[in-house]
């Protein structure tokens, strides 16, 4: 075979070797091989992450930052080294711009509380119609307590952000912050972050990008993008739960008041008043998720050992393969057909409720999600109550997609 010819199927199966790193993939479900197609909700963990966290607890663990003894100092080094790693991963200008949070949701709540607290009544926060509840509800809460206006930018029928509407929404100059997903967890749409940021900055607005989905699939460089805030979550990045990241420009973090109060985030404390630690520690009250942060470091190292060139090529090929395979299933309709998209595919099937699809797939070992995907307003916009969703990780193979499509065809046969 001519090695220079790479068919889509070759590329779609190009990361097959990583499956050996994920112990859970050899599990059986209802007596069937597990086919895990819900990585957009939470990805599975490679043994590199599992071992790193277990080794930390076995050999090198103590509370960090204030311990004066060897074990605490070594753990502090391991923890703070992950901050450097995340700064490189996101292309941040400085390690001080990396704030560890519990997840993306907490990172957005931090911005809504602390940056939102600096906004004046009448100023506007602008989100899109396809936001996860995590990038909608915190802004509704800010609106209700801070008197700001919450403005919604629509999507087009194919599931892309309506850029003309965005421009119109920015026109009155009152928008202080644009908070938009970098990749939709429902539609798979990858938004044109550069264009959004240019447009927002021209109108005097800052930009927060919810990178929970995108950062798993594409290299992110916050400085090249020109973003002001960026959030990611560890458990979708093949890392543990309980650890997320807020990146923000240093001058923004310095101007923002703290989020939670407590130990670690202070400089001095008396009964009369306290002063705050420097950034990023000002935003990290209490004992952090030490083991999970170190586990996130192992996850990022793992992702970088594969490389985003290979990850992106695999995902593009696999997504194209899946769109074609699912498109051939009778009665199946893919929801979201924006030209720029990643490996998250929502679909509905004529005469079969998404929950019945999910249960019948589960009974064949296939894990997909069904429901509103924490995006109820988007479901209403799309005119559906729920969809089924298959989402891919580095370990997903074209054979799994074939099995999904064949099983869906059989399910359809049950109902017609």
């Amino acid at each position: 075979m001519d090695q220079s010819v790479i068919t889509p199927t070759d590329a779609a199966g190009s990361l097959r070797h990583v499956r050996a790193d994920f112990p859970i993939l050899s599990q059986k479900v209802h007596g069937k091989d597990l086919v895990f197609l819900d990585s957009a909700a939470s990805a599975q963990k490679p043994r590199q992450v599992i071992d790193c966290m277990a080794d930390t607890m076995r050999t090198q663990y103590a509370n960090i930052h204030r311990g004066l003894y060897w074990m605490s100092e070594r753990t502090t080094e391991a923890y703070e080294a992950v901050r450097d790693q995340v700064a490189r991963f996101l292309g941040a200008a400085a390690r001080e711009e990396i704030v560890f949070t519990r997840n993306s949701t907490e990172a957005i709540n931090l911005v809504a509380h602390s940056y939102g607290g600096l906004l004046k009544p009448g100023q506007v926060v602008l989100v899109s119609e396809m936001e996860h509840h995590a990038n909608l509800v915190p802004w509704q809460m800010l609106r209700d307590r801070g008197g700001i206006e919450l403005r919604i930018t629509p999507i087009t029928d194919d599931g892309a952000l309506d850029m003309e509407a965005l421009e119109a929404n920015l026109a009155d100059g009152r928008v202080a912050l644009v908070a938009i997903t970098h990749m939709s967890n429902v539609l798979g749409t990858i938004t044109d972050a550069r264009a959004i940021i240019d447009m927002a900055h021209a109108a005097g607005a800052k930009v927060l990008l919810d990178g929970s989905q995108l950062a798993v699939h594409r290299r992110v460089n916050v400085q090249e993008l020109g973003a002001d805030f960026y959030v990611v979550t560890g458990h979708k990045l093949y890392g543990p739960t309980g650890i997320g990241v807020l990146w923000a420009r240093r001058e923004l973090l310095e101007a923002m008041p703290p989020f939670l109060g407590g130990g670690d985030m202070i400089s001095t404390v008396s009964f009369e008043r306290s002063t705050w630690a420097n950034v990023p520690h000002k935003f990290e009250a209490g004992t952090p998720a030490i083991i999970e942060t170190i586990g996130l470091g192992a996850a990022l190292a793992y992702i970088e050992s594969i490389g985003f060139d290979a990850i992106g090529a695999h995902e593009d090929a696999l997504t194209a393969y899946a769109l074609e395979a699912l498109g051939n299933v009778n009665g199946l309709k893919v929801i979201g057909t924006a030209p720029q998209r990643g490996g998250v595919i929502s679909f509905i099937m004529k005469d079969v409720h998404p929950h019945d699809i999910a249960t019948l797939l589960d009974r064949n070992g296939i894990a997909v999600r069904a429901g509103h995907h924490c995006a109820e307003p988007l479901m209403r916009r799309l005119g559906v109550t729920a969809t089924a969703r298959a989402s891919f990780g580095i370990y997903t193979t074209p054979e799994e997609i074939d099995f999904l499509a064949a099983t869906l065809e059989q399910i359809r046969g049950f109902f017609v």
């Binding site: 079969v352 409720h353 929950h355 249960t359 589960d362 009974r363 429901g371």
Partner: protein, 142 residues
């Protein structure tokens, strides 16, 4: 996947071609239940006789096959029964979906026992029953 324990013929048939669906213009009792997580909604319409037995009942169900079949099987099963009997059937159905073993006498409703493997779907089968019990309790309280 020629056959499936949960999606048996009776469930698929009743979901596709319900026998007790539709409006009931003479209804003196109306109730409803919904599951906001999946958008399932069951509306019930019933007439009781002088002894508090269900003389006629119809359902209008929008939802998954499990919910729609459960509503239809329920309507057939509770016709002619009183509140106490409905309560006993409901308790037996709960036992079936939680343990996977259907008490003798549950009849076609035993089709839902495999839901014990699908914790998140039990509510789909139980939604019509909780709507019915709420409706009958509301009537009693009036």
């Amino acid at each position: 996947m020629a056959q499936d324990d949960l999606y048996r013929t009776v469930v698929l048939e009743r979901a596709r071609a319900p026998q007790h669906a539709g409006a009931l213009p003479a209804a003196t009792l109306n109730g409803q239940g919904s599951n906001p997580l999946c958008g399932d909604r069951v509306q019930l319409h019933a007439v009781l006789d002088g002894q508090g037995r269900i003389e006629a009942i119809r359902h209008e169900t929008r939802g998954c096959a499990i919910c729609a079949a459960s509503a239809d099987l329920m309507a057939g099963r509770v016709t002619g029964q009183d509140r106490a009997h409905v309560g006993r059937l409901h308790a037996e159905l709960v036992e079936a979906v939680e343990t996977g073993t259907a008490p003798a006498g549950l009849g076609e409703l035993a089709a839902f026992a495999p839901l014990h493997q699908h914790r998140s779907r039990r509510r789909c089968a139980l939604l019509p029953w909780s709507a019915l019990i709420d409706m009958l309790n509301d009537d009693k309280d009036r």
